[in-house]
Point group: C2
Chain length 199, copies 2
Amino acid sequence: MGRHREFDVEKALDAALCVFWRKGYEGASYADLTEAAGVERPALYSAFGNKEALFRKALARYYERYVDYIPAALQLPTAREVAAHALQGAIDLTTRYPDHTGCLAIQGVLAGSDEAEPVRQALIEARAEGEAQLRERFERAKAEGDLPETARPDTLAAFLMAVLHGMAVQAKAGFSRDTLEAVAEQALATWPAGKGEGA
Amino acid sequence: MGRHREFDVEKALDAALCVFWRKGYEGASYADLTEAAGVERPALYSAFGNKEALFRKALARYYERYVDYIPAALQLPTAREVAAHALQGAIDLTTRYPDHTGCLAIQGVLAGSDEAEPVRQALIEARAEGEAQLRERFERAKAEGDLPETARPDTLAAFLMAVLHGMAVQAKAGFSRDTLEAVAEQALATWPAGKGEGA
DNA sequence: GCGGTTTAATAACGATCATTATGAAATTGA
DNA sequence: TCAATTTCATAATGATCGTTATTAAACCGC
């Protein structure tokens, strides 16, 4: 019963995702979002709720559709491969699209007006969850002898995340893929070796 | 001739600097700035120009007053000491003040509305200049035998900057000083050794 | 075709944005 | 003391912010 929706909700969400990716949460105005989605303002509100709700839906889609290299990395056999795959995945993601470089999930973490604080907290939590998954994976690796007894899984996870974040900043500053790959290689140079791995 | 200025321009700039540090360029409103400075709007305009000019002056002060650990690091005798001092300086800076963590110069790099593009470019250039200084220092270190022949100064500079940026993000996410120091230690673990330095 | 219901489009809402016009207060030189 | 000049505080500018009334159009079951 009632009139049918004339626009594709999925496409509208994709369009909003791209705008948020380029401009961040606060930098993206509702005018930007509706223009990119090709949809009038009230239609976006009825489909997604307000701007914050739209951003949260876009963020969820971003993680499941673009940050899928993290869960993929977690399943690799060794801690070193996990780290290498995560680094490579981040490089791909942050340099693949010339018109929206960097990482959507990092754009809004750093600063903003007071009213954006809930969104910033959500981004911080999402970041922490990714780090926790890496830490747990490295704890397992340590238990399996894949990392030495002296290794500290929490430090390795924090270090890896720091490099990932730093590369996201550099991607936004226009770094080439080659440069980022050299950075990743340098980051991996320190990786502690487990039993059966060369030094 | 004429009436005397009743507020301290230096103090007003310091106050604006702190606001920008907490909220970034776009997140800081002129109302925030005038309130922090204890000065009415037209007074700030007459003293500094518009918001962008005020931010640029605050940024310059930030570098000369708070990022002084970079020029200090550059004068240390070995490349490893340069890197270690830069990392420690960044940790101090990004965690020293509980009410404005992270790095002012990174807050605005990532994203924002179109009208903030000139500011973002200025931040990107400042970032690039810091990296260039590190690269030149590491080239000298290589020439002095302080870094091995296989070392790549550009990669080391990019890597070090990536870790610095990543730690700035993590500081904004509430990381403790201890955690960041563990990250820095891990980053230094990959550092190539020069002649006369143990492996 | 007709009520009931959902969406679409236009236009407006109050709030806040950065910026500035205006006129009173204060200081200097004459 | 008076004219010139600079800063002060109040208040207003037009623009844009996110969010909604409001009304017309399209669909369903009857």
